[in-house]
Symmetry: C2
């Protein structure tokens, strides 16, 4: 999407950015350093509000604004208790873009629009993409089964979801799930995406706020090392570690949802990704972990994405 024909498209125009590359607003990974670096590189950086109480979010918004002149946004899961206060912080901070997820886009989209905030909503099925469009969102994120972290119940993959959603919605479609290279960006574009949201690749950069041990665990991951589990609670894609194998033991023993809830407890995601307990923490990452082999800077990731995209494009010309 760095080919000249795509330098200006519906996504770049919508968000006022140079390239239709959005960084996933991932819990414990996406603070102001990552978001501002992405926005400075020409994409759209997102703060991951899912792991930020309102005061922390306010601080990150202020620091992000200091670190970049470019537009940035906030990823806001709608299912937590503090969401109304987070929205007040976002409006007060004049954040230009919000990506909402895990909840109904009907609840806050018009309020955000009233304050001039652009809204994209993350969906994992055609049904919810249509509902998001009905709720007047400015764009939908179509996130496939291969994505890291929380995920949909339909298990539809990026390869099948993007063409399907593109066929039935008229708002711009941002492809997410499994995208870590410029080659994959071009493939997503061919499948119908107007832009891409990239999570895992940005989680494993110098500017990501995740713990070095988490980043290293992803670098070492191979194909088959992630799995979608805890479907009885909320489906989540994780790197297989001791915590994951403990959940497997519960499944093997025909345990019930309560056993899983008890095992999961509180703070597992923080423990794994932020504190670096790679054995007992929840390590949320996508299937493209197998394509991630180092911990570069955000600038270097953008350089590679562009180069890989151009090479892939030249190969089929």
């Amino acid at each position: 999407m760095c080919h000249k024909k795509y330098d200006m498209n519906r996504i770049t125009a919508l968000f006022g950015i140079r390239q239709p590359i959005i960084q996933g607003g991932m819990v414990w990974n996406s603070g102001w350093r990552l978001a501002s670096a992405v926005s400075n590189s020409g994409g759209l950086g997102l703060l991951g509000a899912g792991s930020m109480p309102p005061d922390v979010l306010e601080e990150h918004i202020a620091k992000c604004r200091q670190a970049t002149m470019q537009p940035f946004g906030v990823n806001l899961p709608l299912m937590y208790a503090g969401v109304e206060e987070q929205i007040r912080v976002i409006i007060r901070g004049k954040v230009p873009v919000v990506f909402t997820s895990a909840g109904s886009p009907k609840t806050y989209t018009s309020l955000l629009h009233q304050h001039g905030v652009k809204v994209a909503h993350v969906t994992s099925s055609l049904k919810f993409a249509l509902k998001a469009q009905e709720a007047s969102v400015d764009a939908v994120v179509a996130e496939g089964f291969e994505a890291g972290g929380h995920n949909g119940k339909e298990e539809t993959t990026t390869f099948c979801l993007i063409p399907n959603i593109k066929k039935h919605v008229s708002v711009p479609v941002i492809a997410a799930g499994g995208i870590a290279t410029g080659q994959q960006m071009l493939a997503a574009q061919i499948l119908g995406a107007d832009g891409v949201q990239i999570g895992s690749r940005f989680a494993v950069t110098r500017e990501s706020s995740a713990h070095e041990r988490f980043k290293t665990a992803v670098v070492n991951a191979r194909e088959g090392d992630t799995f979608l589990t805890l479907k009885e609670i909320t489906p989540v894609r994780l790197l297989k570690n001791n915590f994951f194998y403990e959940t497997e033991k519960i499944y093997a023993a025909h345990g019930v949802k309560e056993d899983l809830v008890r095992l999961l407890g509180k703070g597992r995601a923080r423990k794994g990704m932020f504190e670096g307990d790679t054995d007992e923490g929840e390590l949320e990452i996508g299937q493209c972990a197998s394509l991630i082999d180092d911990i570069p800077s955000v600038e270097e990731v953008f350089r590679r994405l562009n180069e890989e995209y151009q090479t892939a494009l030249n190969n089929i010309r």
Copy 2:
């Protein structure tokens, strides 16, 4: 892959075909009518030996040879009792190509090679693709999680599997899983595929030997209507129907593998796909069922694949 640069590539050269489009050799769908129609259209048709005793397979090979002058092949699952006799039939019938699956490629590849048969092996993970290459297969099929029917335990999607396998193996890679349109063919090619294997789209053609009620059920399927289940036996992607919901009840009641084996019984796939009992049969189909809206001829499918491919290519030029 119909663009002139790809008219001759490693897959067309390997199999002596005009376009690198292989039809999946699906049980109860892929008899001589379907395989010969695909080969006559310039792709590689495969007979689905998984639902053919040796004498039936012999008959289909003979009829396929009468119906086309072009190369065709047999898809051979290696896990059934009659496989040695099937291989004798294949060699005796001078079938030029065999696609093996569900078993070790080490066992029969050299025997088939001795008789001049080209061998491709179906894999769902990098690990097994590397083993297939070690076993000297001529190509690997990299089949993603979105594929219909039997599937891998790693649950890696086409979008992530193709680039990963392409990066690590040197033999030609055939992408499978979720591919029903020419747009998706181009996307698969960009991800690294030398050719594509298309199953569901060919299952729902006039020449497919599946029952009309099965074909109609696929036409009516929407995004989210298939699911990978029966993982304790062999993971299989099915259209959700009454049989599927019966399996769900067993899972909800924390049933054991034996309960599932008992429910599955024998002949469910035949019942669903060949006899047309769409309530109680096993309806094996991929996630791209949602992209399939009619029951055209094979010739028409090829016309569309080419047109969609060319349109997608023109859109990014």
